[in-house]
Symmetry: C2
Subunit: 306 residues, 2 copies
């Protein structure tokens, strides 16, 4: 049940209506692996940082069972940096700065022990980096999931579609699903995405929950209605990490277990937005998670029979 | 378990990306009573139309157990008329024409047999008409629910708040909940609305489902993801009709039963949008409803235990 995460480990500077941060640690790979570390004792990560990246963060990841042998540290280079500002409704954000730095020429080297990973979560990165990782895996994994974003649809649609055809689960948000397929209705968009290759597609709708589709089944997971969304950064990655962590830990890829995984992913994401960056994730306990998942259950369960 | 609906019986002319209609029968009272007629054998309606209103529609209502003794027919006057146009996303519409006609001086007379109604659904109307009906009921009903819209918040907020304080359930959409309370987060908005008097508040989020709140509980019902929303007119009223029809039929106002009622309301609304106006509602069978409700159950149920 070995889990491999591929994704950026980076610096973010975030401004929301509740405040702003200096450079803090962020990146899809960070959020994914932190979230999945609550489910799996050991996992691997492939990423790249510059020599400006704090060693303490890598130690923190190691202490949570995240093996960083595949995380390259580029001497004399700078870590990927993103800065953004959220507006009042928290659904829209402006990117203020993007400095690719070490990501610009990232060659995702896959260490030998990683090459037989059974569960692979490809965080949002260039589709060619994502497909390179898949090509470097020597044994077909049980499940490969990938995230992406509209940026790649704008500049590398062919590459993206090739990579999508190689994975089992595509995780996108509603706007990305629409842009990818040219279809407005999400059921139709999902159908088109399944025709591109994946067996499952998850369409995230932010505060409106998430939809999981297979060719013959459909599942809807609510988002927890929150009084305050403090900082949405990383919520989608945290969802993916909870989802894949749960699947890898339970080693069961039936639709019923994917449904549970979506609920665990949603629960993890609901923590992420409560504080800036990874702050809340770093404090969460197993009991918090159990209680949060129970809340999701209470929120959406009903009994048709009186 | 007597059910009373108060609401407009009207003409609509609708334009959607799928086509346009001439004047067809619409109105909150029409949709509510039609939807609830699938749950209760007999019910009463208070409304007003002009002498231009087709007798055939009243016969159709009567044949479905909707007693129209409280539906006033104003000789020589014209029925309320609304015309609107939906845009591509179907979430926004422009009102092209509003002719109040008979609604302008509507005095909601409550026939004697209606005065002991146990369940009352007040469709969207001026808050003073809604409160007049409540004042004319001689015995406190088991449950009064009301719908409203932002128009009344703009021009009659005090009247509206007074009426809200007299009911048990307020049914609004997300934008209305925000305007009514000045709160963006729906959990906070719901809390504020409960403080205005109602024991329950339902916040409809269109294609994103509906939330039901009591002081201590919260329930989320998904909307059925549809490939095509043909015409959203009346969906909210149909939801309210299914909700109240189910409650009146089961005569049980526990939170667990309100959850079921929200699911039945959502199921009825999912039919409404499949064709123009009331067309689809008029064809629906009991078997259709059972299958649709099962779909909602399949869509949102999961089992946390493996």
């Amino acid at each position: 049940m070995s889990l491999l995460t591929v994704g950026s480990v980076a610096f973010d500077a975030i401004e929301t209506p509740f405040g702003k941060t200096d450079k803090i640690v962020g990146g899809a790979g960070t959020y994914i692996s932190l979230a999945s570390s609550f489910f799996v004792e050991n996992q691997n990560i492939i990423s790249v940082v510059g020599s400006d990246f704090p060693a303490a963060t890598l130690s923190e990841m190691n202490s949570r069972g995240i093996n960083t042998d595949g995380l390259q540290i580029k001497e004399g280079e700078k870590t990927f940096f993103w800065s953004g500002k959220y507006h009042n409704d928290m659904n829209n954000r402006d990117t203020l700065v993007t400095e690719l730095n070490v990501l610009e020429h990232f060659d995702p080297i896959v260490p030998k022990p990683y090459q037989t990973s059974e569960y692979i979560m490809l965080g949002n990165l260039s589709p060619s980096v994502q497909s390179t990782v898949i090509e470097r895996i020597t044994k077909r994994p049980k499940l490969i999931a990938m995230d992406t974003m509209n940026f790649w649809m704008d500049i590398a649609m062919d590459d993206l579609k090739k990579t999508i055809s190689m994975v089992d689960v595509l995780i996108v948000n509603d706007e990305e699903a629409r842009q990818l397929t040219g279809e407005y209705a999400l059921v139709t968009a999902a159908k088109n995405i399944l025709a591109m290759g994946p067996k499952y597609v998850i369409i995230k709708k932010g505060e409106h929950g998430a939809l999981l589709f297979s060719e013959s089944q459909m599942f809807f997971a609510p988002a927890l209605p929150l009084a305050e969304v403090f900082d949405p950064t990383g919520a989608g990655d945290t969802f993916a990490g909870g989802f894949m962590g749960y699947l890898a830990a339970t080693d069961d890829i039936t639709f019923d277990n994917l449904k549970r995984a979506v609920i665990y992913g949603s629960a993890m994401a609901s923590f992420c937005v409560e504080k800036f960056g990874t702050e809340r994730l770093l404090e969460v306990t197993q009991i918090d998670i159990d209680l949060r998942v129970k809340k999701f259950n209470d929120l959406s369960s009903f009994d048709l029979k009186k």
